[in-house]
Amino acid sequence: MRILIIGAGEVGYNIASRLASENKKVTVIDKDEAAIRRLSENLDVQSIRASATSPKTLIEAGIKESQILLAVTDSDEVNLVTCLLSRHMAPEIKMLARVRNAELDDFHQRFRKAAPHIDTIINPETEVVGTIRRLMHIPGAVDVGDFVEGKVSYAGLRIPKSSKMVGMSMSAFSTRFDKDHPLIAAILRNTQVIVPRGDTRFHANDLIYIICEKKDLEEKLNLFGLGHKPVKTALVIGGGRIGERLSRTLVEDGIKTKIIETDLTRCNELSQEISGALVLHGDGSDQSLLLEENIGQTDVVVPVTDDDETNILISLLAKSMGARDTITKIGKTNYHPLLPAIGIDKVVSPRLSAISSILQDVRKGKVLSDISIFGEQGEFIEAIALDRSSITGKPIKKITFPKGTLLLCVIQEGQVIIPTGDTVVDPGNRLLLFAVNHAVKKLETLLSVKFTRKE
């Protein structure tokens, strides 16, 4: 499969890196020399330094032989024009564009239905606002999300030092909770991803990922002593695109919302745009302002300024001043491994959200959705079991799963089944799997149809 990526920025680079490691033929176009050099020095992809809005470049990059076009530059204009051109040059190509401008939100449907007929439009800001909202509703979880059209949920939980689970083995854990125990899909210890086996033991500060039916999520979290406390007040710091979008949805959810923004003109705009929220003019890292606004009584503080370092500091400050919870926006993936050490657990990144949405669009073997965790060291993959693939037609204990992968659940006729060794997967069943990064390729082979590939 040939994939053409426009834009070698953080999103383009990461997607290219993932797809190249899965043996796909990737070509990347970008105008920036440094970005192209970084790409060509590190990845097995073809890189072209030119403007993607030139038809000559697109032909040279092989648009006619490509199946998928991902327009993910930082500029909406470039992305849209490239898609428009490409639709003329390759009418059959599947296109995905990153469009960030909120004013264009209402046009997404039209871009899909009329020219340039973009198949998927990704707005990283929308994705990240969605993630923040989900995290707010489950205060104990560091990371939450849904699969299978919302039937199954996953949640990432940190094991505190005081927990009774510390030192317990997986098998002891299952005996203790009997049938009700939530399925543990993966453990993140320091920066290492572990796919748990019976003898794996929990350590303090492990981040565990659990899977269960959505309706049971609260009940399961109660098992861990992490109950549901509804968020009533929120403080958003930074009134940029994300801040504005987030505040609007929070107000709509009936949460008492305050926004702090440094720029007075922007404050005026915000106060007119969002009627239900309290707009404050000031510096989000100003202690006296935070005290004035009674930060100790705030349920959740969400720093979403453009500056990662500021966001981290504000979160630390807010926690020390008594805020119940914080959700921090951090763009640089390089920082992610360090964050648990300084006590920042709930992290969102527009780029990671965009990357996982895009990857789920690209995967073959009828993958419905997949979600990257741990800064992309592993991912959940939701797929449909295909007829004639190695996974169907025999009991699970007879299937050799690649090392580092785990079949989490099977959905048969709307029923969520936690598989045992005797479970047989039928063609058409939905599957939820977990795989560490370097096992994804092997897992894909397992899921795809043998000999005759239809794409």
Binding site: R2, K25, E41, D44, V45, R49
Partner: protein, 483 residues
């Protein structure tokens, strides 16, 4: 330094090398030339060493990060290892007496230089001569590129190795995936080789000779199965067939691929290729004019010998049909110039490469122009694409290192007792991977009489030239080992 990665890469390459020894082994059995045991020994040792290295460096972390420096070091060490093990058949054979001789011959083979220390070529075992041609053929497109094409083992770090072995100044990746690019390059290479075998055979050359010569033309190597090289056949047809294939081998292989994909004008549109072809043609015409009347009476003879020597030297092949040391001074100087210019980037030829010469000339012109118009803005461009300042710097650095190594090595060789022409000619021929030099190492002589120290020095020059200086030279930078 990731020694596991280096060990595994070298191990795999040695296994590949051991397997390729099956070809001369088969030849030895077929001709009963007495070299069967020798090749069995060499094959056993090479395979054994390769397998031991692979076993020792097992369990490579698939997510390990291979830096560019590690890639370069791996390629440099891999070439050294392959050249040493490739020297085994020579060392074990009665035709070679010292280790320096065997290693020189092997390095000269893998780097496609074609300088030889063998004095009695026709008398040597046929299988040994085939091995000599085969290592040129393997080295021509690059041992890493070969292994990328046939074995999918270099997933991790493959890109770094490829860049270290083919440090092309122009972008040349044909397809998004490295292994596909490597496969295409080898298919083109193999195709041309087969075509040349057929054309030589059709002209009346024996199958064995045709295979050997095709194996050494396409990598622009220059080993022959005859003492007198191509002159031994004295055939106009062979001369021109070989000239044609030497020119093809001196052109960037990605252009051949584009030509095969139905772009007939690609040789002309590519500015480097155009430069290379016009240069070769001009030099041929000037030399024909220089030779006509004085050395050769007939115009057709002058053209035939001038074209063969010019193409043979500028593509860095090194076949000879005439002793150019008997040519007039102008022709000799032109040939010395050819030794430095070399073939196109992305071809199998050596030398400085046309693309670098072009960038250098354009850059110098721009500097002069800037003195006259200090505020003018202009960029050096090749094929309509601007060349970045970083690349210009790297090319200038390359030229400086190339000439620096040339000068120092010449002085060292002279210190070992060689005369002026020999020192200058031998180093130029080795660092440019050409073959014959000037003075006592000219096309009618060979390198056998050099002292052992001189042979080691020239072996090093050949490797440095083949891997385009940087890859080899970093092994000599103290910072590299500290860090």
């Amino acid at each position: 330094m990731n020694w596991r990665f280096i060990g595994r890469t070298i191990g795999v390459l040695l296994v590949l090398l051991g397997v390729s020894m099956a070809a001369p082994l088969g030849t030895a059995v077929f001709f009963h030339d007495g070299a069967t045991l020798l090749f069995l020994d060499a094959m056993g040792l090479t395979l054994g060493a390769g397998l031991i290295l692979i076993l020792m460096s097992q369990a490579l972390d698939p997510t390990a990060y291979i830096s560019q420096q590690a890639g370069m070091a791996t390629v440099a060490l891999a070439w050294v290892a392959v050249c040493l093990f490739g020297a085994l058949p020579f060392y074990l054979s009665p035709d070679f007496t010292t280790l320096a001789d065997a290693v020189f011959e092997s390095v000269s083979g893998f780097t496609t230089t074609g300088s030889s220390v063998m004095t009695q070529i026709e008398a040597a075992a046929k299988s040994l001569l085939l091995w000599r041609s085969l290592i040129q053929w393997l080295g021509g497109m690059g041992i890493i590129v070969l292994s990328l094409a046939v074995l999918p083992f270099l997933g991790v770090g493959g890109i770094q190795l490829y860049r270290a072995e083919v440090p092309s100044p122009v972008p040349d990746k044909l397809t998004p995936r490295l292994s596909d690019s490597a496969k295409i390059l080898w298919m083109v290479y193999l195709g041309f080789t087969l075509l040349e075998i057929l054309m030589l055979y059709a002209g009346g050359m024996g199958v064995y000779d045709a295979i050997n010569h095709a194996f050494t033309t396409m990598p622009t190597g220059g080993f022959s199965t005859r003492n007198a090289s191509i002159a031994a056949y004295n055939s106009v047809y062979f001369d021109y067939v070989i000239v044609l294939f030497m020119v093809l081998a001196g052109i960037n292989f990605s252009l051949h691929y584009q030509l095969l994909r139905g772009r007939p004008l690609v040789f002309w549109r590519d500015s480097e290729c155009r430069f290379f072809l016009i240069l070769a043609l001009t030099l041929t015409l000037v030399m024909t004019w220089d030779l006509w009347g004085g050395v050769y009476d007939r115009f057709t003879d002058a053209l035939r010998y001038a074209s063969f020597q010019v193409v043979s030297i500028i593509t860095t092949t090194g076949y000879a049909t005439a002793d150019y040391e008997k040519f007039p001074g102008l022709s000799q100087v032109l040939l010395l110039l050819c030794m430095f210019i070399g073939a196109s980037a992305g071809s199998t030829g050596g030398g400085i490469k046309c693309a670098r010469i072009m960038v250098c000339c354009k850059y110098c012109y721009r500097e002069v122009f800037k003195i006259l118009h200090p505020r003018s803005v202009s960029q050096v461009s090749i094929n309509g694409y601007p060349v970045s300042d970083a690349l210009i710097r790297s090319i200038m650095g390359f030229l400086g290192l190339y000439l620096g190594i040339y000068v120092i090595s010449s002085v060292l060789l002279a210190a070992l007792g060689m005369d002026l022409m020999t020192s200058l000619g031998a180093v130029a021929a080795c660092i440019g991977n050409i073959g014959p030099g000037f003075g006592s190492v000219g096309p009618a002589e060979n390198f056998a009489h050099l002292p052992a120290a001189g042979k080691w020095l020239l072996s090093w020059c050949m490797l440095a030239g083949r891997l385009e200086i940087y890859t080899i030279i970093i092994l000599f930078a103290p910072e590299f080992w500290k860090g």
